[in-house]
Symmetry: none
Amino acid sequence: MEPAAGPAVVLVRPQLSENIGTAARAMLNAGLSDMRLVAPRPNWLNDKAVAASSGADAVLHGARVFDSTAAAIADLRRVWATTGRNRYMVKPVHTPRQAAAAMRAAGAAGDRCGVLFGPERTGLENDDVSLADTVLFVPLNPAFSSLNLAQAVLVVGYEWYQAGDEAAAPAAMTKGAGRPATKEHLTGFFDHLERELDACGFLRNAEKRPSMVRNIRNMFDRAELTEQEVRTLHGIVHELVTWRGKKGEGGA
Amino acid sequence: MEPAAGPAVVLVRPQLSENIGTAARAMLNAGLSDMRLVAPRPNWLNDKAVAASSGADAVLHGARVFDSTAAAIADLRRVWATTGRNRYMVKPVHTPRQAAAAMRAAGAAGDRCGVLFGPERTGLENDDVSLADTVLFVPLNPAFSSLNLAQAVLVVGYEWYQAGDEAAAPAAMTKGAGRPATKEHLTGFFDHLERELDACGFLRNAEKRPSMVRNIRNMFDRAELTEQEVRTLHGIVHELVTWRGKKGEGGA
């Protein structure tokens, strides 16, 4: 039987080769093998990484390297961002168990997923978190919560692995309209919308622009847009800005 | 409310001080603090252990030392023995999840429990396993299952933590979500958007208009928009349309 494809594990700007190695080891414990690195240090694949992987070096050798988080997740349709603390943005939150159930359902539908892990000391930047559709928060002792990178990867992978046998796929939303859009497709729409919002001056406040952009993206992310809906939104934006000679000059 | 007493974590003949430290850290992540060591090396509580505990040194300082496994578990009424491979003995086997449920039930009844972890390289001797009533087996990739001591402690502790009342799933939304918009507020936005889409001709197909309108509303409904977000969308529509007026005739 084909093993269900597990989530990609995306390490964003990982700092130590050794931690990339231990993360690979944690992945393979859970049967995961799709490792993606965003802007790792040069020569990350060294003896330290291999030694730390304790036999999981195949995962290291198969790891793909990307320049940006967006590029690393372009082909994925569901992405979780791990955070260690509350972020002041509006996004749904999953525990690893909830995420695992959703990952299994997505896998059954052929939708690839992934999980973002940030740099060891600082965690993910808000801009990275906003690229995901869901935040993943590991509920542990609030008085002392300090998982290292490999442990975080392990907990997520462990829950995914556990969710394989017994978990019936949770009731997915009845869409009927098709598959969730890929992150690349979504980004295309965001770029289009933001281009027009820049042109019309909606985003003219340079200081507020980053958080406004994040908030708008979060809003659309939560809708779990299908490919068809993304096309519709492209059309809406285009037609709203296209003059059709029905109004006088000077705008509404 | 008194926190539920968690299982004692019993390290049998642990080899490296550093691993005792990382085990303490894993324990505290899960809210566990009862550490017991069976025949550790002399001077195990050294700088390496403290450093590796990353702030969980209180667990180290509270750890009790015993000469034998039997002595370490004398006061316990339920004991699990972790194993990494099949043991040829007749004992019930629990996954960490099953064990956690039993631990919670035992805790509620006032019965103290504990979990045995063996030396890092070799695992528990059969004689140690036989002192337990249940074997604890962490189900992971059978082709590659190599949890280190801290990871094994973490998985067991994590499951115990999840199984408690207090580990309710975190709020469905991150902080800063604001209140969901009222239906009236949402309808106001839909009316605004549809008015403009009618004006620009996007909804000109009379036969398709009803389903197009429904699909657009469904999409925004799924985002579970807050009041602030509805205001933002009003602003986006208004400014895109106003820009259209300023771009001049002939369209984009």
